[in-house]
């Protein structure tokens, strides 16, 4: 029996009998103007091989120079993760041959990372907080990108040739490596995804990266191992490379736990190897074995002088750190008076910034939440898009709510106005005016409609006059219809009661 046709063990069963330990390596592409070691622009989606210099291409004679902004960003990340910042550190060369690697070595940090020994608190769905210990955060450069042409799958197997785009070669990366994360039990998949989400939010708050998972700005390598119980030594781990969505991270961990349990049940041993995640099946497959045989022949990069950030500079950066996402969530929840559940829904829906901006534009927190988590969330779902991608600004939402609060329109009209905004109709007030949607509270108009309704519905009138005041609704319906929903319902009720002499 080979590792590929092993029987998976049911996840719950595997968790009952084994103790999973996670280890996660997250790469984040820094949003600097230029690359890690040269002046080539750091941009996405340019024509292939246009964002390059002799250094990005590793041309003979070219030399690297460290990007000071990338060092600053790395320090920001290190400080946000409660790390110590090295007083002096060096780059090293990690050597292997591959066509996407211009020098056939990657300039990276090896035994001297810029940041080390930190931690980050990760909040789970139910509010539980798990502290993840950070071993190190180091700087390195990205490689180029291979495209395999001619095969059916786009993979190298079956391709007739490959093309290499070096635009990404030399893009600055920070790699954050956790210590082994124990004691996650059955929540291991959730913890892995929540950890990467926490880092993603921190990168965005620090403004060091766009941190878009779908663009590969943030990539995670997920290490999983199993042991018999929490007192056993660590088991052999596998490393699933470049998993780039939160859902895929959860599925990777879940699958590896089931698979490794199957391997162990079959009396086999786990092979230390890299693995690939497959979106279509939710499974992982063997990559290359990662054993002691791999020898990167690291040695200190002689073309670069050591990086020695002054303590004054580090303290300046520390003082300039923005409020981090966890603290900000705590503060906003208090200011807005949301429940834990409401707050979690808002965060999970990626609506925090939108609601904050809507409140800043004058809406109450509850009304802002109601719009974004209610009507707008429903529309986003119908249109299969993100909340942030909808063509409505927080200011427009606040303005809309202002019209409702001022009784210029009612809730029903407000939803119509919203649709018009989304279709490019402009600002709410302008729409209400140009479309004549304002609530009608002009008594002369309303009295006519009331008289007509009374004349049309003698049986209802009789009921009301007979004491069934709640039957008024049966008169209001036709009036609203006659006024295309724009009648001020409260005023209509008053006029009816006046006319019929009830109170």
């Amino acid at each position: 029996m080979t590792a590929t046709d092993i029987d998976l063990v049911d996840y719950e069963d595997a968790i009952d009998r084994f103790d999973p330990v996670l280890g996660i390596e997250v790469h984040v592409e820094l949003g600097t103007a230029t690359k890690m070691f040269d002046g080539a622009p750091n941009i996405f989606a340019a024509e292939p091989n246009t964002a390059i210099t002799p250094t990005s291409l590793g041309l003979p004679g070219s030399l690297p120079v460290v990007n000071g902004k990338a060092v600053e960003y790395a320090i920001r990340i290190g400080l946000a993760l409660n790390c110590s910042i090295a007083e002096t550190c060096r780059f090293a060369r990690k050597q292997y041959f591959y066509p996407d690697l211009t020098k056939n070595f990657q300039t990276s940090q090896y035994d001297e990372p810029i940041a080390y020994e930190g931690w980050v608190d990760v909040e789970l769905e139910d509010g539980e907080i798990i502290r993840v210990e950070i071993e190190r955060a180091h700087m390195e450069e990205d490689a180029g990108k291979n495209t395999h042409v001619g095969g059916a799958t786009g993979r190298i197997h079956g391709a007739t040739h490959s093309q290499v785009d070096y635009n990404r070669a030399g893009v600055p990366l920070v790699e954050i490596v956790t210590k082994p994360i124990p004691d996650t039990k059955g929540r291991a998949p959730e913890v892995a995804a929540a950890y990467v989400r926490t880092l993603r939010d921190i990168f965005r708050a620090l403004d060091v990266s766009e941190a878009k998972m779908e663009r590969g700005n943030v990539r995670a390598d997920i290490n999983v191992s199993l042991r018999e119980n929490a007192r056993s030594p660590l088991g052999t781990r596998t490393e699933t490379k470049n998993v780039n969505s939160f859902r895929s991270i959860e599925r990777t961990v879940r699958f590896e736990i089931s698979r490794q349990a199957g391997v162990l049940d079959a009396g086999q041993t786990i092979i230390q190897e890299t693995r690939h995640f497959h979106e279509d099946t939710g499974g992982t497959s063997s990559g290359r074995p990662k054993s002691d045989a791999e020898d990167y022949r690291y040695f200190p990069e002689p073309d670069l002088v050591p990086v020695a950030p002054s303590r004054e500079w580090v303290e300046e950066i520390r003082a300039s750190l923005p409020e981090l996402p966890a603290a900000r969530r705590r503060r906003l929840r208090g200011e807005w008076g949301f429940s834990d559940l409401e707050m979690r829904d808002v965060v999970n829906a990626d609506a925090l910034d939108l609601i904050e901006a809507t409140v800043a534009a004058g809406a109450s927190a509850q009304s802002a939440r109601k719009w974004w988590m209610g009507e707008l969330a429903r529309i986003a779902k119908d249109r299969d898009t993100e909340l942030t991608a909808l063509a409505v600004t927080p200011a427009q939402v606040a303005e809309l709510q202002g019209l409702v609060d001022g009784t210029q329109i009612n809730d029903k009209i407000a939803k119509q106005v919203l649709t018009k905004i989304l279709d490019g109709g402009g600002d709410p007030t302008a729409i209400v005016e140009s479309e004549g949607l304002a609530v009608v509270s002009d008594d002369s108009v309303l009295t006519g409609a009331v008289d007509q309704a009374i004349a049309d519905n003698p049986d209802v009138v009789a009921k009301i006059q007979g004491g069934k005041v709640q039957a008024i609704g049966a008169l209001i319906g036709p009036i609203m219809k006659a006024t295309r929903g724009q009648a001020d319902a409260g005023r209509v009720r008053e006029i009816i009661m006046d006319k019929l002499g009830v109170s």
């Binding site: 041309l59 004679g61 460290v66 041959f97 066509p99």
Partner: protein, 506 residues
Amino acid sequence: MDHAPQNDIIRTSAAAQAAALRAGETSSEELTRAHLDRIAAVDGDLNAFLHVDTDAALATAQDIDSRRAAGEELHALAGVPIAVKDIVVTEGQPTTAGSKMLEGWIPPYDATLVQKLRAAGLPILGKTNMDEFAMGSSTESSAYGPTRNPWDRDRIPGGSGGGSAAAVGSFEAPLAIGTDTGGSIRQPGAVTGTVGVKPTYGSVSRYGLIAMASSLDQAGPVTRTVEDSAMLHELIAGHDPHDSTSLTDPVGAFTRAARAQDVTGLRVGVIEELEGEGFAPEVRARFTESLAQLERAGAEIVRVSCPNFTYALGAYYLIMPSEASSNLAKFDGMRFGLRVVPEDHPTAENVMKATRGAGFGDEVKRRILLGTYALSAGYYDAYYGSAQKVRTLVQRDFTAAFEQVDVLASPTAPTVAFRLGEQVDDPTAMYMNDIATIPANLAGVPGISLPSGLAEDGLPAGIQFLAPARADERLYRVGGALEALLEDAWGGPLLAKAPELTGGAH
């Protein structure tokens, strides 16, 4: 013999040529043509040049002539032609580093030092021959055939910069650029009767130098006089933001130091470990005579011990190949230069293997294997790690020695030029040629080699001075003074004693 009197100017120093240009006695175009004619006449035999760029050199010369005619303020060396070692990248002109791997490669950019040469208006005559990727001490490992020594065409011109030294020594070029990783400017200088300077590490930008060993490589001047070296060094030195190891210090007043001709009170340390066994008797004799001249002129001669120099060669031959194995990994047939596609199963990995197998010569492969081994897991500490410790000890020897003396002295190379083919099959013997020059590279300190006279077989020998890092001015001071004393004693420059070359006689 093309020895018309008007061409005598090519046998003078670059400073003299520059003065003639300023005085209007000649034009840069005339001067450049005279050198190109000389190359045409003798280089078929010497093979000092891999590429001669007649059109570009003349275009620069004509430009400088018209700018001079227009009264423009020009650099002191403007219009004086120069040759550049083929390891320095030149935009639009072939650069091969003496290797098949880069045959026909036209770089899309200029090295920083080349930009400086162009900005100052020095016509670039062409690219000079060298040991493949600067690995060798004889220029015999060039993929394009060896260069011959102008003093005796059966002998080597030193290495790896044999082409630059031979071009200057044979009056093909008044100035040349070399690179010195373990002595590749100084040792060829010694065996061709020319002057060569390895500046302080970081004094001249490495941007655009095809790297052999990054922590050791240093570009510098190859000339006929100490003053010429000083002028060229001043031109190419200075901070370069493209090279993070480049020094930020202001460039020293090297030319003034070269002209000072005063060694009164200068303490010259003789390195005990670099004058005994292994150094040919007549080479030692010329060295001793040179010291005596300095002493008569007021210098103080002191014997100094640098005990760890004994281990320098061993450390060098671990660090250099380690860095080289890494620096040369980029030559894989993917982005530039040679690509060999094997017929069966042409995967990327097999293309890389076939390209490297076909493109690199024996000495390069030997050093890549040595370096790969020295860096590999399990051997790193024993080899690379130990070598770095020795490097530190060598640096300490220098520090201690420079507490006692201002400069250190030794013969530049242990022997005069040996015969072509004599050491090719004995790498260890070949490596010994750099025994005196290597410590300076390990420590990053500057060194100069200048002629000390004729030794065995009437061939030139050289004397080397070393100074503390950033104290390059001292080298020019002692070098300029000794050169003047020796030329007085000889009745003229040593190169005047070189046999006349007759084109194509070999």
